[in-house]
């Protein structure tokens, strides 16, 4: 079983009972309640089905219920494996060709959908949705929060790293999944707030009803007066030959498998994109014992926070700038990735190509807002606000403020006498700031008393080191006057307590003191498994950018439980002491390319519409042959007509029109229609008997049996 048994920061989840299921008749074991896709991965199965159109192998892509690439037959019915919980005895089968409709011919008694009602429907239980729901509940609104995952928190659940920002405002220094629990607990304390987890909204209707797919089993209609759309973002697909091979998937999907489900999903990964998602995803791979072979970035600079990048670069992972992926190849699965530098028109220079052997390629090429429900609500004239990534892609810390602000502006529209604190608006702005200047730090000499050494040299919104210091000796240099400013050590009152080392989300603080004229002690943060280290072991120490400094003995190790961070103390050469910040855990050979590049450059074969398998070349030809300037016309090619409802391909279409010689600004957008995801006919007609409705909640949402037939 490819499960992660040793993880430095992720909790081992409460033990789930092991159950048997079958995959194409073969008996396998998995954990009850985990996603079927996770159970398959844990059994080393990464190709789930064959596409009905051309038998192309299909695996996971979003692991988020958005695309439909992970579909399999479960007990005879096509299901997305990433949102179907494993149960004992499930008959899971590969889809080959179109599935047969089960011949269940006994009479069927239809029931009208069950009705729920609330004042404010909050769509999405991530940081912004939870924060919004809390504010609204506090103001006595009857709130119903619905979320498509079994566990609330949105992407926080996958975020095993510590957060930036400030402790007071947004739980900085706390790990994402712990923040999710805190926010959820706050909301659950309100009797006027009901929660439906594991229940995506699948449609908004003009007659002011939202359809909720409760427990992915029962279709229910919700009456509301207003909506908060906090449905987050989805990962963008990108275009290269092989972008549909099993083993190419989103960095978020990877984090779901590795951080949430604790499955060792890969052996060797290559990452596309150097934004925070790509950088953090790489770090999570390293933490799970997965080799990161490289990261490529089409822009000339790293896109994410420098402290995140430093953590990766330090481990010897190269970041290839001005570089794109030209092909991912393999026999039915990912075996090889090839990258090449780009010219000033973003076109690949094929003579710079380099190939690497990998089994997984993570796509971290940006996010697009899931804002369809907001747009529809506005079109229908509903009272609606949006928050979080659905409003603007930014950090979860700013999404918390965004949710609170959106809630209050909604309360105002709904006649409540509220005012929005200007400080909140300011904080949200700071928290969503792009990184500022890089200000190199001057060398520091060790002294005989402890002092912190800072390796953060880029302005980002972050200050936990200043608030955890018991002697208040760490301050921000007042340059910008916000938490964007860089910290420094003021005075001499450092007790060597390592609170700042443990709290720093960037792993960018060490503590140093000279022992004598030759040696010093250094305390560094460590977020990899440390049980394997014994006192006296010589650890390979690295500087900020991964330069090997020396093998030095471990003299103390201490696990800070609050921050779930190891503090390692090593005895090091005095002249190197203030440079030490890392311990090598990945061997440099892991990142070597093949001796010669090996690839075919066939960009027109990249798949745009994954559901219906339509390629770049097919769409370009269709646009040109039919003088198309309206996205809706691509439906003739079945683009956007598949199970996902164009959620994956829509964002790719502008560049295809450009390639076909049509200015995307002149192109008419596609129309959005319910349902947003597929729901069984029988489930729509199941009434209240279809599912254990609202099992995930202490539902105080009033349930009336008004019936849906009007």
């Amino acid at each position: 079983m490819q499960r992660i048994s040793e993880h430095p920061v992720a909790d081992q989840r409460p033990a789930k009972p092991e159950v048997s299921f079958t995959f194409d008749g073969q008996s396998l074991r998995g954990l009850a309640g985990e996603a079927v896709s996770t159970a398959l991965f844990a059994n080393g199965i990464r190709t789930f089905s064959a596409h009905p159109k051309d038998d192309a192998p299909q695996g996971i892509f979003c692991a988020n219920g958005q695309c439909s690439q992970c579909s399999v037959l479960i007990d005879g019915v096509t299901r997305k494996s990433c949102v179907t919980p494993l149960a004992a005895g499930l008959d899971v089968r590969t889809i080959h060709g179109l599935p047969e409709l089960p011949a269940e011919d006994q009479a069927f008694t239809a029931q009208p959908p069950q009705s729920l009602s609330c004042e404010v429907l909050v769509i999405g239980g991530g940081p912004s949705g939870l924060a919004a729901a809390v504010e609204l509940a506090e103001r006595d609104f009857k709130v119903l929060l619905v979320d498509d995952k079994a566990e609330l928190g949105g992407k926080l659940v996958l975020q095993t790293h510590k957060f930036f920002g400030s402790e007071a405002d947004c739980y900085a220094g706390t790990r994402g999944y712990d923040i999710a629990k805190k926010l959820e607990a706050k909301l659950r304390a309100f009797p006027n707030a009901a929660i439906l987890a594991n229940s995506p909204v699948c449609g908004l209707y003009k007659d002011k009803k939202a359809a909720v797919y409760v427990d992915y089993a029962s279709y229910q209609l919700v009456d509301f007066e207003a909506i908060v759309v906090a449905s987050g973002a989805r990962e963008r697909s990108i275009l290269f030959k092989g972008n549909d091979l099993p083993g190419v998937y989103g960095a978020g999907a990877f984090q779901t498998l590795v951080n949430r489900d604790l499955v060792k999903a890969a052996q060797r990964v290559f990452v596309i994109g150097s934004g925070n998602v790509g950088l953090i995803g790489s770090y999570h791979a390293l933490q799970a014992g997965i080799a990161v072979v490289g990261i490529c970035e089409i822009l000339p600079k790293i896109n994410g926070y420098k402290v995140h990048a430093d953590k990766i670069i330090r481990m010897g992972v190269p970041v290839y700038l001005n570089t794109t992926v030209v092909a991912v190849e393999g026999n039915g699965k990912v075996e090889r990735v090839t990258i090449a530098e780009v010219d000033k028109n973003w076109q690949p220079l094929l003579d710079t190509a380099r190939s690497f052997e990998v089994d997984t390629v993570l796509v971290a090429a940006g996010l697009s807002p899931c804002d369809e429900f907001y747009k529809q609500a506005v079109k229908f004239g509903f009272t609606a606000v949006r928050a979080g990534d659905a409003e603007e892609i930014a950090e979860a810390s700013s999404a918390i403020f965004g949710g609170r602000i959106a809630a209050l502006s909604l309360a105002k529209v709904m006649g409540r006498n509220v005012s929005i604190d200007q400080a909140w608006l300011d904080k949200r702005e700071v928290l969503k700031s792009k990184p500022g200047a890089i200000i190199p730090r001057l060398p520091i000499q060790p002294s005989t008393s402890w002092q912190p050494i800072f390796f953060c040299d880029e302005e980002i919104p972050c200050n936990p080191c200043t608030t955890v210091c018991p002697t208040h000796s760490i301050k921000l240099k007042p340059k910008l006057g916000s938490i964007m400013d860089l910290p420094y050590f003021e005075g001499h009152d450092c007790r060597g307590c390592s609170a700042c080392v443990a709290a720093c989300p960037g792993l960018a603080v060490s503590l140093v003191r000279a022992l004598d004229e030759d040696f010093a002690e250094v305390q560094i943060p460590f977020e990899y498994p440390a049980d394997r280290f014994a006192i006296g072991d010589r650890l390979p120490l690295l500087d900020q950018y991964g330069q090997f400094l020396e093998d030095a003995p471990l003299v103390k190790k201490f696990h800070n439980k609050k921050y779930r961070t190891w503090i390692l103390t090593c005895k090091v050469s005095l002249n190197l002491a203030t440079r030490v910040i890392g311990v090598r855990i990945q061997q440099p050979t892991a990142t070597a390319p093949l001796a010669a590049a090996r690839f075919e450059y066939l960009p027109d074969e990249a798949i745009v519409c994954r559901c219906e398998r339509v390629s770049v070349g097919q769409i370009v030809r269709f646009i040109q042959e039919n003088a198309v300037t309206d996205v809706n016309q691509l439906k003739s090619l079945r683009v956007g007509m598949g199970a996902c409802g164009s959620k994956t391909c829509a964002v790719l279409l502008p560049q295809i029109f450009r390639k076909a010689g049509v200015d995307p600004a002149t192109v008419t957008a596609g129309t959005i229609r319910p349902l947003m995801l597929e729901v069984g006919l029988g489930e729509i007609l199941a009434g209240s008997g279809g599912a254990a409705a609202g099992t995930a909640t202490a539902a105080s949402a009033t349930t009336t049996s008004k019936g849906g037939l009007k």
Partner: protein, 382 residues
């Protein structure tokens, strides 16, 4: 002022084939469309059924032509529109329906339709799993069929474009200048046009356009919703139609497309007189209840998407195909009552023959579908 032989208002189910056949006949043809591209009015909302099985001889004639054209598009032009001659099956579960269908058979056979009564056993063979309890049989017309409305409109746009028709999208007609019972010019948001003949093929907007020349035409849209499921292996062949009303709805019908999805639609009761095309929550429970009662195994399908479209209705359920006396160069091809998709190709071809000919061709159709009829009764198989 731009001049042409034929100015077609509307690039939809009627306007697109008409533009193709006019351009092919050598007429200088311009098409004005307010939407951003072709087929974006109600054509996009059609579910794709094409039948000659009507109760009216004129419609039978037009739709037989449509079937000939659509079933031959791939052969004649290499354009796949996913046509399938799956037939239409009107099922009867009660005496009233059975006798009505049997009576109609005579008219239909007399009009040359390949249609007959079939037994419950034959119904079961064509649609395994259909409810047999109470089934008396039905009429089956194997040459009827279905195809993709979007692919079809794209095909006709392409054929028309290649034949020289000029399409003007995102362009709205604002006024028509009359000069002695003749449309002297059509003014749009982009320019002025003079045309030998102006064809109103504007579907749900046709009454509004007619009012620009002070002509009142009895076309009023009502709203219908439709939906599509996920694809499964072929399990049923015909378009199934159940015209037996219940408390909340009239007829409903569904078929399995070439690509495996089941596409469905229902007529709500009472009708919804509206031009709103946004979905409502009542549709799915309404139609799915009836579908699963008729065909229980459909319960295991999944609804993928639903949408709303408009039927430009006339009081008697028959189209208006007319050259009004009041305006010498105006042609009306309107009021298709939700059947524009199946009438369009045949009507386009026949009407183009008249426009390109001496102007007397297919007079039988113009006599039958005149604007000056009494609009009484209602076509039985509407």
């Amino acid at each position: 002022m731009t001049s042409c032989d034929v100015l077609i208002l509307g690039a939809g189910s009627i306007g697109l084939p008409l533009a193709y056949y006019c351009a092919q006949a050598g007429l200088k043809t311009i098409v004005i469309e307010q939407e951003a591209s072709w087929g974006r009015g109600q054509n996009r909302a059609a579910i794709g059924g094409v039948r000659a099985t009507h109760s009216d001889p004129g419609k039978i004639k037009i739709c037989q032509e449509s079937i000939r054209i659509l079933s031959g598009l791939e052969r004649d032009h290499g354009l796949d529109v996913e046509w399938r001659s799956g037939g239409y099956l009107f099922v009867a579960y009660d005496e009233a329906r059975e006798s009505a269908f049997r009576q109609l058979l005579q008219t239909q056979k007399a009009a040359g339709l390949n249609i007959d009564w079939i037994s419950p056993e034959r119904v079961r063979q064509l649609s395994p799993g259909i409810r047999l309890d109470g089934l008396r049989g039905g009429t089956y017309s194997p040459e009827d069929g279905y195809c993709s409305p979007m692919m079809t409109s794209t095909a006709f746009h392409r054929l028309a474009w290649q034949a020289g028709a000029d399409f003007r999208f995102n362009e709205t007609v604002q006024a028509m200048r009359l000069d002695g019972g003749h449309i002297a010019s059509v003014q749009t948001t982009q320019g002025d046009y003079a045309a030998g003949r102006v064809v109103n093929a504007a579907g749900a907007s046709s009454a509004e356009l007619a009012s620009l020349v002070n002509l009142e035409i009895p076309v009023h849209p009502d709203a219908h919703e439709a939906g599509v499921t996920d694809p499964v292996a072929r399990f049923m062949e015909p378009m199934l139609v159940d015209i037996c009303p219940d408390e909340h709805s009239g007829n409903y019908y569904f078929y399995q497309a070439v690509t495996g999805q089941v596409v469905f639609c229902i007529t709500p009761k009472p009708q919804i007189w509206s031009v709103d095309t946004d979905n409502t929550s009542s549709f799915l429970p309404l139609v799915l209840k009836r579908m699963t009662a008729l065909y229980p195994r459909l319960r295991n399908l999944k609804v993928r998407r639903s949408w709303r479209g408009l039927y430009p209705m006339t009081p008697d359920g028959l189209p208006i195909i007319a050259e009004p006396q009041e305006i010498s160069n105006l042609v009306l091809a309107v009021g298709m009552c939700g059947q524009g998709f199946m009438l369009g190709p045949g009507l386009g071809k026949l009407l183009a023959e008249r426009l390109a000919g001496r102007g007397t061709e297919h007079q039988d159709l113009l006599d039958e579908f005149t604007l000056y009829r009494k609009f009484e009764g209602m076509e039985l198989l509407k």
